[in-house]
Symmetry: C2
Subunit: 318 residues, 2 copies
């Protein structure tokens, strides 16, 4: 099992998972393609239950975290804190088809995939050791994937990341000051400004955020308040699917099949019922490299104006 260690200078946690040193790369038969099901661990979820599957969820063969009854913590020395790498790390196989990315799926296929995301979110939420759940997709080598077949991942950690706590602190402070949800107000401010909007759709708004960290960073925000993706309704999933597909398709065209990370942000599990946070989808195209200034300072430098990116995407979604 991996361990999770706290950096005494930042208080951030780092997962040390030496089993991940030899992750597989594409070679020979794809283990995620239809017909090769026996080459993966038994599935945790399969949609539909019987017959030909559309989405499968399996344990990550090179998991960063693994389930256990309880989370042990210890201090191997002064200033050093460590805990067992307890949690979950699953792979969602988006489709049985080797080269069918989300941008080119049907709305129905994306709907099934989003339902699988929600089902696993809810399942992991039930583990009392889980404090935080992140659903994400790495598409393309620059985005950190080692296998081509479209897949997503879900990681559940036994501790809330510092970055999430910081966002929560900002949102809580804003709520205390104003009585309103910061994310709802950001959405309203972006809609009022208009220049960074990509499109508005029933239930969801797509925009390039004011302080985009990378060229063509794109957010998809629900228009009504909900802290966690685990809480999303069937109706919202049906409305969200074409929005995700159209957004990814526009990015595909604008940036010529970019490598990207897609991240579904949710509140930490114990804060799901608080009115401070709004789950949302963040898409980060990996067209530039994170370099020394960014790693040293934590500040990002982007070479694109979000207003210009939004204007390009607006044309493409038409």
């Amino acid at each position: 099992m991996s361990t999770i260690r706290q950096d005494p200078t930042t208080k951030e946690w780092v997962i040390v998972a030496t089993n991940r040193a030899h992750r597989p790369r594409d070679s020979g038969t794809c283990p995620f393609c239809a017909g090769n099901e026996s080459r993966t661990d038994p599935e945790l979820l399969r949609i539909p239950d019987g017959g030909e599957w559309q989405v499968r969820v399996i344990p990550n063969g090179f998991a960063a975290l693994s389930p256990a009854d309880r989370v042990g913590r210890w201090e191997p020395g002064p200033l050093f804190r460590e805990m067992a790498g307890v949690g979950h790390h699953e792979v969602i196989i988006d489709t049985p088809v080797h080269d069918r990315t989300m941008a080119f799926m049907s709305d129905e296929e994306v709907t099934v995939l989003l339902r699988a995301f929600r089902a696993r979110h809810q399942a992991l939420r039930a583990d009392p050791n889980v404090r935080y759940i992140l659903i994400f997709k790495n598409q393309g080598e620059n985005a950190g994937t080692s296998l081509t077949h479209p897949h997503s991942q879900i990681v559940a950690t036994p501790v809330a990341p510092l970055h999430v706590r910081q966002k929560y602190r900002v949102a809580t402070g804003y709520y205390d000051d104003t009585g309103r949800c910061l994310y709802c107000d950001v959405l309203e401010a972006e809609r009022a400004a208009g220049v960074r909007l990509v499109f508005d759709s029933p239930g969801f708004t797509v925009f390039e955020p004011f302080a985009s960290q990378v060229p063509f960073e794109t957010w998809i925000m629900p228009q009504h308040h909900q802290a966690s993706f685990g809480q999303v309704s069937d109706g919202d999933i049906t409305r969200l699917a074409p929005v995700v597909r159209r957004t990814l398709r526009a990015l595909h065209e604008a940036l010529d099949d970019p490598h990207f990370n897609l991240i579904i942000h949710s509140a930490p599990v114990e804060d799901e019922d608080k009115p401070y946070y709004l789950w949302h989808v963040q898409i980060l195209p990996r067209v530039a490299t994170i370099a020394g200034f960014e790693l040293g300072s934590g500040m990002r430098v982007t070479s694109a104006s979000p207003e210009e990116s939004a204007s390009v995407l607006r044309e493409l979604v038409r």
Copy 2:
């Protein structure tokens, strides 16, 4: 001029520098090689002053930030804060020789380079608009460099990054609790543990930190208290040079000429005289890709145990 925008959800600042979209890549004559001095902007520093140079410092031709008399701030809408991209962004040409990286320089050459770093740190420190100074090097394409000729960079920002504030908050809290410098105590704890030490040298200690973020992350720490690299003495620079060279040479051999970022962390300028912080060098080999989990949660996943990396490097520095 670029602008700096605040992300309303994290309070972090992002530099929007659209001039950086078309940075040069290696092609034809190298502008950093001896004999091609006329192809860059006039130098800000040249060592030695006359005759053949060993190190040159020039303005970054694609600067993220630029000097100005004063820093303007404005709010283009509710929740949106922006300021002018005031600051400095300089390139330090490490050597006149196109392929002479720090790992293969003489101790005397590294000493001259470190003196150039310090001289520019002190020069930028004198600008009243500067709140924070970061010196760094991106070596190799995976580390974000676009030009092969060995060079480093110095960026001075008009605002302290959130990440630095967080480290400072942790260090201040520790100082308030214990009366001691957190970084000095981390150094002592690492020396006591021993398993992550690479080598001890008069004045400096090299180790793989307990919560290393990436495989072979390496820190070089001064053994006596000093908050900023701008304060370092001539004697310390002479002692540091062989330590940096030996460390980079060991990493070169361990990882077969890895791409890496080298970062010199210092306190924000207004905190240079406080006893909370210890400047240090951080080296981050770029052997793995920062992917969706890291970008979404801020937590890192590393596939190497720092104890094993330290043991590899210990053998190589002998």
